[in-house]
């Protein structure tokens, strides 16, 4: 529009110049043109003058900016914004409190949706959205299962809706340096099609060819930028050099560009070599199949195509594929195994509702503070009304003032949230793809702004409508005496009761939820900082040989001077434990028919000795337990207390509950011993570690002080035993990251902080509203005293109302807390542990104290005022 206007003016003026030049044409063409221009004057200036002459005049006194124009579209004037900013500085206390409350409320309200959005991120490949993962859904468990090579080959042959399919499996590979030291690097076996599907070219050399997939062909590897830099010192002639991976020399055929990692954070790629006749290998799961949608093919078409293939496979191999339904899945979701996004995860909406509830509470309380300020400004509002401002205009002004506050708070909140998330991101960086961004995105900012507008609506418009109501305006305009004329009445009572309810319900509820997460855990102190932990892997070794290597490594480690013990297990104290559901072999087992969830760990025979953790009852594992049906299990004290209800566990039988579609039942296991519980591990069931286990094995070496000093020696010992042994992530056991502990920590601390904030908000709300209502009654108190009322009866009168509100709030709060706790505990009885009782008492005590203070101070002040003064003054 604006450009067209400029073009028109230009054309019009040039026409004029040409005509004038024609008029002078007898003086020669050049001279005529010069003369015309001379007469015309400064062309640009005239253009500018025409443009401004054609515009509508701006309102007097304003210099209209782009922001102002944007705001005016929504009926907001810059004057309102300036007033809003002025209000921020005029009431710094209120601003501080409100910004604090909303700076917490807005990011917390956003957090669940933000977390859900992260899994929607597209991978950073060319047209990354069209690169999809193909996965089988197990209809029985409603979980995705990893794919097999057999599925990859069948899908590749049958699907026409994909340009090509690729397959990968991540692992760790030891790159052995010239001095014999092995250091593991995350890498992946990939099909040669991978790089074409991702449309990524190498920085040097080539990517993998189908010929590289031939069994018996030369050993080749494509390395990532980081490996090239660190292992080959960024050698420009790296192509053709060899590196030893797990003892086998591999020729480097390509170097990928910086930043390219695939599929997670793997930085070297070996060709997939498969014997298509080896059925066991073909059916083994653990692979990730992906592909690029063919041009013009929609997701829906690809899914339909895949479903047809899936149904055919179900008919052909019913024993393995009857319950499997293949799905085309977004890359990031597929990588994380989050089906349908976080929104479909259990508890997501509860989390979202809770988060928004916190925002609503924050808004309600800030709203209450603003309410009192707005009432105090009735005079100013009356003047504005008298000068002709409409109700809508005044409401808009108050809304914009709240909006300025909310936008400021949202900005502060986002900055703080960004700082926190980026500092905590290191913790999960290892287990997330590089494009996974926890920080603030444009989307987050847009949502935060929307929430700010919503908040401003709640806390600005509601009080504004109340204060500008007809009754109040009549009062203000007509009488003009000191009191605002705003009677809180029912609204104030409702707000007070709501806040008391919240204060009373919050604390026990938060304690109950956190308590429910961690159950009752008794933990013995375990000196994790004395142990060196590491992951022990031999993915490319035969199971029988792996078992022998492991035993030899344990023997050598134990023989090292100063080493007090070695423990090997699928999990170590303080780490995440896989869990399963079990049932008890008891006649009176009335517990949940789905079974009780317990942690399940496989440990070596010397595990508890190695950890210096004595058997409390029964016996430990023996080598004899490795033969036969391996039915002996050991439980911890948390298992005895929480699952068995304190019964003697020795000789008792338990078994895992299989899902109904699974067919066979699991064998019974016999409890042969009891050990103390480690902190942060719930009910635990220990099995003996099968010697053939090669993948998920962790090592704990009891070194003593500074356990990390033993890392080089441990690596050297491992390389001596076999170069194929991969020792990864060596660190002191107390440094080990446990997602469960991490999340529990966050929820516990987050819960405590949020509870504190909620409590602070509620009690400040109670104080503000109660003291305000008493202040509003100052003149009434004065009149009563003037009429001869007893001071005690006045105190009682004021206290009665406050007490009724407090009592109502407490009753509702306790009822809600108990109700919610009952739901959370799955219908069971509310445990009467001391933390919960203490928390309830704390919530009640603080609320009552604040309530009494809120009434007493202003009442006493009112009583001290002389009746005549109260009547004369502003009240």
């Amino acid at each position: 529009m604006r450009r067209k206007l400029a073009r028109d003016i230009d054309e019009e003026l040039r026409f004029h110049l040409d005509m004038r030049a024609e008029e002078y044409s007898q003086e020669g063409r050049g001279a005529a043109r010069r003369k015309a221009l001379q007469r015309f004057g400064d062309f640009k200036l005239v253009v500018e003058a025409c443009r401004s002459a054609g515009k509508l005049p701006p309102p007097p006194g304003t210099n209209e900016s782009a922001i102002a124009r944007l705001l005016s579209r929504f009926g907001v004037s810059m004057i309102d914004v300036r007033l809003g900013v002025r209000m921020l500085t005029k009431h710094p206390g209120l601003t501080g409190a409100a910004v604090f409350a909303l700076a917490v409320g807005i990011p917390v309200g956003l957090a669940p949706m933000h977390a859900a959005r992260m899994f929607e991120a597209d991978p950073p490949f060319e047209e990354g959205r069209r690169v999809r993962i193909l996965k089988n859904l197990d209809a029985g468990s409603a979980n995705w299962v990893p794919s097999s090579l057999q599925e990859f080959f069948q899908w590749s042959d049958a699907l026409s809706t994909f340009e090509a399919l690729g397959v990968t499996k991540g692992s760790l590979y030891n790159i052995i340096s010239d001095d014999g030291l092995a250091e593991p690097v995350p890498g992946a076996v990939v099909s040669a099609s991978t790089f074409n599907i991702l449309r990524i070219l190498p920085q040097m050399g080539r990517t993998l060819d189908p010929s590289d997939e031939l069994i018996g062909g030369p050993e080749v590897v494509v390395i990532g930028h980081a490996v090239w830099k660190s292992r080959l010192d960024g050698d420009p002639d790296a192509i053709g050099r060899t590196i030893r991976i797990g003892g086998v020399p591999h020729t480097v055929v390509g170097v990928m560009p910086e930043g390219f990692l695939f599929p997670f954070r793997e930085g070297l790629w070996l060709p997939l070599r498969t014997n298509r006749l080896d059925e066991t290998l073909l059916k083994a799961r653990g692979y990730l199949v992906f592909g690029r949608l063919a041009d013009g093919i929609s997701l829906h078409q690809a899914q339909a195509d895949l479903s047809v293939v899936g149904r055919r496979m179900a008919v052909e191999s019913p024993e393995t594929h009857a319950l499997l339904q293949p799905e085309v899945v977004a890359f990031t979701k597929g990588l994380f195994g989050i089906r349908g996004g976080l929104q479909k995860e259990q508890g997501f909406y509860a989390f979202q509702v809770l988060a928004l509830l916190i925002l609503v509470v924050a808004c309600a309380n800030v709203g209450m503070l603003i309410f009192t300020r707005t009432v105090a400004r009735s005079g100013e509002l009356a003047v504005r009304t008298a000068l002709g401002a409409s109700r809508a205009r005044v409401v808009m002004q108050l809304f914009v003032e709240s909006l300025v506050l909310a936008v400021l708070a949202a900005g502060v909140g986002l900055l703080v949230a960004d700082q926190i998330s980026s500092s905590r991101f290191d913790m999960i960086a290892d287990v997330s793809p590089p494009w996974f961004d926890l920080g603030v995105t444009r989307w987050t900012v847009a949502w935060a702004f929307s929430l700010a507008v919503l908040s401003a609506g709640v806390m600005g418009v509601v009080p504004a409508l109340k204060v500008t109501g007809k009754k109040v305006r009549r009062h203000i305009l007509g009488a003009g005496e000191g009191r605002s004329g705003v009677r809180f009445g029912a609204l104030s009572s409702a707000l007070t009761i709501a806040n008391v309810t919240l204060a009373v319900a919050t604390v026990p509820l938060a304690v109950g939820v956190v308590d429910g997460l961690t159950e009752t855990q008794e933990g013995t102190t375990f000196e994790a900082d004395q142990f060196l932990s590491a992951r022990l892997r031999m993915p490319h070794t035969e199971p029988a040989r792996a078992s022998a290597i492991r035993l030899e490594l344990i023997r050598r480690l134990e023989a090292e001077p100063g080493i007090r013990g070695v423990a090997v297990g699928t999990s170590l104290p303080g780490m995440d434990h896989p869990s399963g559901r079990i049932e008890l072999d008891l006649d009176d087992d009335s517990s949940d028919p789905r079974g009780r969830r317990v942690s399940s760990v496989h440990v070596n025979v010397g595990y508890f000795d190695g950890l210096d953790h004595p058997i409390l009852a029964g016996r430990g594992f023996e080598y004899a337990d490795l033969s036969g049906d391996r039915s002996a299990v050991i439980v911890n004290t948390n298992f005895v207390n929480n699952v068995l209800g304190g019964r003697n566990p020795l000789g008792m039988r338990v078994r895992y509950v299989t899902r109904p579609t699974g067919g066979q039942t699991e064998p019974w296991l016999e409890i042969v011993g009891v050990v103390g519980s480690f902190a942060a591990i719930d009910a635990g069931l220990f099995h003996v570690l099968p010697p053939e286990e090669t993948e998920r094995v962790l090592l704990a070496v009891h070194v003593g002080d500074e356990p990390e000093s033993f890392i080089p020696r441990m690596r050297a010992l491992a390389a001596e035993v076999d170069p194929a042994v991969i020792i990864s992530r060596p660190m002191a056991l107390n440094e080990v990251f446990s997602f469960a502990v991490y999340v529990t920590d966050w929820i516990t601390w987050g819960g405590r902080i949020l509870t504190g904030i909620l409590l602070a908000l509620s009690v400040s709300g109670i104080y503000a509203i109660m003291s305000f209502t008493v202040v509003e009654r100052t003149s009434e108190i004065g009149i009563r005293i003037a009429l001869g009322a007893q001071r005690s009866s006045i105190v009682l009168n004021v206290a009665k109302r406050a007490l009724v509100q407090l009592f109502a709030g407490i009753v509702i709060g306790v009822t809600i807390a108990l109700g919610l706790l009952t739901v959370l505990k799955g219908g069971g009885a509310i445990p009467t542990q001391s933390p919960l009782v203490m928390a309830t008492a704390l919530g009640l005590g603080v609320t009552v104290l604040i309530g009494v203070l809120a009434c007493t101070a202003p009442t006493l002040r009112a009583l001290r005022i002389m009746p005549t003064e109260a009547l004369r003054g502003d009240g």
Binding site: E12, F15, H16, E22, G41, L45, A53
Partner: protein, 110 residues
């Protein structure tokens, strides 16, 4: 020898433009030429003022514009007076007549 040109009196440009456009639609150059020719080149229209004035008057809805073809078949912007413009012209003309008559009377006072 060309006649000496006189600059327009402040506040008269709008009136002259309206008068120039009174009979027919004209483009900017034609407006300028009409004023010059009607006054035997005594009044010279400053082009730097003419076009901003045309745009301002269009905004005030005294005149309206449309693109058309000029006498030499070029695209040109033509202006014509609206009813509001005619009223404005008659107001300004009577004021000017009154004003110039008063000045004349004063100057011819013996």
């Amino acid at each position: 020898m060309p006649r000496e040109k006189t600059a327009l009196l402040q506040g008269t440009l709008d009136m002259l433009i309206l008068k120039a456009l009174d009979r027919e639609a004209k483009h900017g150059y034609s407006v300028a030429r009409t004023i010059e020719q009607a006054t035997d080149d005594v009044l010279s229209v400053d082009e730097g003022s003419l076009y901003p004035a045309l745009h301002r008057m269009e905004r005030k809805k005294w005149i309206e514009s449309s693109w058309g073809l000029s006498e030499n078949n070029r695209r040109a912007k033509f202006y014509e007076v609206t009813n509001m413009g005619r009223k404005q012209l008659s107001v300004e003309t009577s004021e000017w007549t009154r004003y110039s008559h008063a000045i004349e009377q004063m100057l011819h006072t013996p």
